[in-house]
Amino acid sequence: MTAKLLSISGLTKAYPGVVANDNVSFDIGESEVHALLGENGAGKSTLVKMIYGLVKPDSGTMTWKGQPFTPAEPKAARAAGVAMVFQHFSLFDALKVSENVALGMENPPPMGDLARRIRRVSETYGLPLDPNRVVGDLSAGERQRVEIIRCLLQDPKLLIMDEPTSVLTPQEVEILFKTLNKLKAEGTSILYISHKLEEIRTLCDHATILRLGKNVGECVPAETSAREMAELMVGDTLQTPTRTTDKTGEVVLDVSGLSLEPSNPFGTRLKNIHFTVRAGEILGLGGVAGNGQDELLAALSGETLTWKDAIKVNGKEVANLGPNARRRMGILAAPEERLGHAAAPDMSLTENALLTGAIREKLTAKGFVNWSATTTFAEKVIKAFDVRTPGPHVAARALSGGNLQKFVIGREVLQRPEVLIVNQPTWGVDAAAAAAIRQALLDLAAQGAAIVVISQDLDELMEISDRFGALNEGRLSDIRPAAGLTIDEIGLMMGGAHGMEVAHVGEDA
């Protein structure tokens, strides 16, 4: 092993009620790509925040090139040569690319020089980017480039990347990996946080696995199977979702010629979308976020109304009916945004259960709410989907993302839908819970429901869908059987690498 760049020993950080990091120790060598693996809530983010100077450890020491390292603020960490690409982008939508880059630097050059340096670095590393564009108009992949370039301009010794690939197409991931390998060859170390195990196996030299704040193991990813790593993360054997039957019935959901103007200026226009879903079938729709997923869900759930013949369910035209009319017919939906869209944050789980369950579960009568029935329904969801909460009286906001996700999916699944549309059903949910949600969707399909799963997690779509299509700039690709699709074919369906198509942006007018 090469010389040590950063060694961490006995790092501990406790928050009221939880120990985020408990005596964590590991070393990062020079020119090493080191993976940090773990479930949600395993303490990965807290750990890197301590390295970046955003959070002070309660105890433990860090050593940087043999010297004690105690960054009091990010400025100090940046001065030492630590740079970080955040999981939730730390970008300012209303500002230009160059201004965003300048904000992340200690001593930025004048704007003109900076724009030239951004162009030069972006060309060197194959990350095309125009410094004068406003960040709010960029795609997720381009936004990430802004963050990476912001880091690269500071010649970092250690680049921390927190779940960088969750928003990228396979082709964009490939470009990112080329960039990272180039950096590694130039002597930069990378601390790579992800729970995508295959990526870690191809990219990383060494991996440290965290579970509940503790370091539970280390491995060389290339020599360890993804399953072994996953079981180290979960601390248990992993249940793979299984499907019980492949029988599909009649066409239930028939979408033909669905076009839709976006309701807000940053939305995507849906362009002539056609697909059908049969009873007992799961249709997986992939694509990078912002390519029409939210708009498609809104059109299918009834939030946005369209020409009545664009969407048919069991032969009935429903596209001009609102959500409640569709719920009566058994068409249910769970949108992506948990807080504020799928659930009202400050209302209790019981009240949230009422909001979508009132009609099918008959929780209201003559305009009055039947609270005991509603509570029973909420408790049923909590029990069936293993939602970890003190009870149904708890506000939705108080649940962790994964638990709330289980609740909002469970709430729809338990209403026995004939058609279910879900967007990002396992986003931010840990592996065990994600497996449970996928199993529930498969079981529901086995009972004869037609299901549309919109997701950006391709592994998930490959695991549960019968047929697969991809959204790209509001258009839907051809629908193809999921079995046997290669990652390259999927990538092309998703529109390839976004940076490579600057030349034909104007064609969708």
Binding site: G53, P74, F92, A94
Partner: protein, 306 residues
């Protein structure tokens, strides 16, 4: 009715005077809002500035010292708002309203012994030759210095926000305080400084009314200018030059309608009195129909959790 009694040169000169308190307060509030803070206490800070400046200049005999005292008075009052919203994490709307009510009461108390006194006069600019030019002289070169400070402040704020690093950090804090915090900027410090700047500007604007425009002290003499300043910032789409335009438009129509009233025009006084508000808002609403929008974190409470 005798419209010929209205002298256009004097009209333009006096509209600039009428607009200056509004301009000062609005430019200050613009900086505060660009940092993501909504301070509804502008009216309170103006009136406290008005009485602080008035009292100090009467006691010292120097209008200049009075103006500095007004800025300090406004800034000190704004620190109360900063403490409530940035340290105690109180609701910004409620705190701002409370600040206005508190400022009105406090100024009435402070001003009890100053009613009916005449403050020392502020010298006007008198440049040989230039000030004596016909038309241009009275309009451009013979005002009090604070009026020029107001215009310079607008230009300064515009340049600071557009070109300087400090301005960039200020906008970043107003745009996304979480991202700014993650990058290591001290959100609270930036916001407290912005709030104090806003307070000082509002205080100066208030003192301009009590020392230069009127000049005397009466209770509640700012008469809603602080509220107009707040509306002006929004309708000017958070752009300094539009604030200047809006302030001059408001001041201009105000002076014009007063002149029309004096000339005895056959329009009921109530319609004339409401015209500055209506026309200013109408013009700015039409202008703000472009893409510009509020700072994304405006009015949101920042707490550095995690």
């Amino acid at each position: 009715m005798d419209l010929s009694a209205i002298n256009p040169v004097l009209l333009v000169a006096s509209l600039m005077v009428a607009a200056t308190p509004l301009l000062l307060a609005a430019v200050g509030e613009l900086v505060v809002e660009k940092a993501g803070v909504l301070n509804l206490g502008v009216e309170g800070m103006m009136i406290v500035g008005a009485i602080s400046g008035f009292a100090i200049s009467v006691e010292t005999g120097s209008p200049l010292v009075g103006l500095v005292a007004a800025m300090i008075g406004g800034a000190v009052l704004s620190l109360l708002f900063a403490f409530l919203t940035q340290v105690a994490l109180a609701n910004q709307v409620a705190s701002g309203l409370a600040l206005t009510l508190f400022g009105l009461g406090l100024s009435a108390l402070m001003g009890q012994s100053y009613v009916g006194i005449k403050p020392p006069a502020m010298a006007r600019l008198d440049i040989p030759v230039l000030s004596d030019l016909p038309v241009i002289g009275p309009i451009l070169f013979s005002h009090d210095p604070v009026l020029y400070i107001g215009i310079a402040l607008t230009a300064g704020v515009w340049a600071l926000l557009k070109y300087s690093r400090a301005g960039l950090i200020l906008r970043a804090v107003g745009e996304s305080h979480d991202a700014a915090h993650a990058l290591g900027y001290n959100v609270i410090r930036v916001r407290v400084l912005a709030i104090m700047f806003g307070g000082a500007c509002a205080g100066l604007g208030g003192a301009y009314i009590s020392l230069i425009r009127v000049p005397q002290w009466t209770e509640g003499m700012t008469a809603g200018i602080g509220w107009i300043a707040l509306a002006l910032v929004v309708f000017a789409s958070w752009k300094p030059w539009r604030v200047l335009l809006g302030a001059y438009l408001f001041g201009g129509i105000n002076v014009l309608q007063l002149n029309l009233q004096a000339a005895g025009i056959a329009i009921p006084v109530e319609y004339l009195a409401m015209s500055p508000y209506l026309i200013t808002i109408l013009v700015l609403v039409i202008m703000s129909a472009d893409k510009s929008r509020a700072p994304a974190s405006l009015g949101r409470t920042f707490h550095a959790s995690q």
